[in-house]
């Protein structure tokens, strides 16, 4: 399952992105197979979120291509990318705060329910059916994501960890083939992280491929089939977790060039030990 055999679900080819003179991404190439979990790691500012934004259409890459099942989706607007089966979450939660939790997840069903203006004005059977389906789906995905809090109140009223679940439920309600999670475990406590790990596994069991940006090395090494490492916009490694964690360049990227042997050894131990290895 390293995504080389069959035509990959997602392939990012020679992606470059510059803002003015600053190269945010300098030649990123990786692929994601069906139902595969690929993590993108790297120090802060390495270009991970920029890469997500290129894949999902929020940024137009300066060069390179993004393909979904071989189809070039570079430069499509985000809603068009979403319509092709790509869903994402955001690094800083982006919920519709004043709307109910259910409405937030109903957003994921926006493209699935068929309803025109006349249906809405006349409350036709099709309108009622669409609304019912949308609500059922929303409940289903909130159950799946394990939300315990109030579903009828505004999303902003939920605790942080619960809001993360809502955001993932919203993305899942889109029924994507590919899900991009941008630091889903950030700000979660130990118990919540374990639940997040479980949730990510269960998402994969649905046959959904996941690209994961995450600083928690324990989680990354545990769940990923492959790990792509970025540093200053450059891809410095791409391989199975075991291989990546032994890669000296990766350790160096996390600690800096002047780190002495002992520090590197210590970092290696911490990365290997599955604790938080993020600098």
């Amino acid at each position: 399952m390293n995504g080389t055999g069959n035509a990959p679900l997602l392939s990012v080819e020679g992606l470059r992105l510059s803002f003015g003179g600053v190269l945010a991404i300098d030649g990123l190439t990786f692929g994601v197979g069906e139902a595969e979990i690929v993590s993108v790691i790297g120090p802060n500012g390495a270009g991970k979120t920029s890469a997500f934004n290129c894949v999902t259409g929020f940024y137009r890459p300066t060069a390179g291509a993004v393909r979904l099942r071989g189809r070039d989706i570079t430069g499509l607007r985000p809603s068009a990318v979403a319509a092709l089966g790509v869903a994402r979450t955001f690094q800083n939660l982006r919920l519709f705060g004043e709307m109910s939790v259910l409405d937030n997840v109903r957003a994921g069903t926006h493209l699935r329910i068929r309803q025109n203006v006349l249906d809405a004005l006349l409350h036709t059977p099709r309108y009622r059916r669409g609304e019912r389906e949308s609500t059922e789906q929303a409940h289903h995905w909130l159950d799946f994501a394990g939300l315990r809090g109030d579903r009828y109140g505004p999303a902003r009223a939920l605790p942080y960890g619960e809001q993360r679940r809502v955001e993932i439920a919203r993305a899942l309600a889109r029924r994507p083939d590919l899900l991009l999670l941008d630091e889903p475990a950030a700000g979660l406590n130990h118990g919540e992280k374990a639940e997040m790990l479980d949730l990510i596994r269960r998402i994969r069991e649905l046959g959904i491929a996941i690209v994961l940006i995450e600083h928690d090395m324990g989680l990354v090494m545990d769940v990923s089939q492959r790990v792509v490492v970025l540093n200053f916009g450059r891809e410095i490694a791409d391989g199975p977790p075991d291989e990546v964690r032994r890669n000296p360049e990766v350790v160096e990227a996390y600690l800096g060039r002047d780190a002495d042997e002992a520090e590197i050894e210590q970092a290696r131990a911490s990365v290997a030990g599955g604790r938080d290895g993020g600098a």
């Binding site: 809603s79 955001f90 705060g97 203006v117 809405a120 004005l121």
Partner: protein, 331 residues
Amino acid sequence: MTATVPQGTPPGAPSSARPRGAGPRSIASRLMDNRWAGLVGLAVALLAPFVNATPYALSVMTSAAIFVMLAAGLNIVVGYCGLLDLGYAAFFAVGAYTSGVLSTRFDLPLVATLPAVLVVTVLAGLIIGAPTLRLRSDYLAIVTLGFGEIIRVTANNLDVTGGPSGIYGIPGLTGGPVSMYYVTVLVVAVAVVGAARLGRSRLGRAWRFVREDEDAAEAMGVHTYKIKMAAYVAGAIWGGLAGVLFAAHLSAISPGSFTFLQSALVLMAVVLGGMGSIRGVVVGAVIISVLPELLRDLADYRFLAFGVLLITVMLVRPQGLWPARSREVAQ
């Protein structure tokens, strides 16, 4: 009314089905959540002429009803979709002038001009919206303000619109002021219910997704530009049809009726009532249109009193008189 109201809930059930965490609710908030509030409002409007049917009172009430329709339309744009439109009177003017010009030039009954009014207002919405809706927040407000003035200045300078003196002798929709009032109330009631239904449909949710977070909405597959355009065009239709009622009601229109002040007053009605709350917006519109009349005894000071009252309300209740619920009722 931002929350999705479930279908087929028996009356009275919503408050008991409310999940815990909402705390004990005041009588006022129970009344405000009551689903019959709209019908009560309609009943009040229908019974009002039995209380006072002087031509002056009927005229004030008819104007108030038209103003409610304007506010319901602007609420789609500002309240649901979060697009600050400072030139909403433009659509009001387009509707009024289109029906006025066609009915007087071609001697048509006003109803016959409706298809043309719809086409022209939709076109106006698309033409004004296409460049404008690519902008965000402050820029959008400034450009809509500009378009509002362009429409007014155009009407002021064209021959076909009668220049500064406007158009006279527009046929009414009905025989007399009482029937005109009732026709207006019914049209406005349908418009208000329609706006509310749109507001809680798939499209209405998409409007609010855009208002809350445009990027997150895009990421969920919502084509935000089209959705904003839909809000704008819906607002244009509501405004345009209100313009037809206005032309029928006054039988004369001039550019003076479509100034920035008019746009600002409609926006004030929306904000005063509670952005995105159809009930609040109706109440806000009635207050904004009727209050200056009730304050007539204060003569020159009435607009001062009006202003002070508005400022006081906004300080005490910034969310509006009857704000939208962000809690939805369990099914």
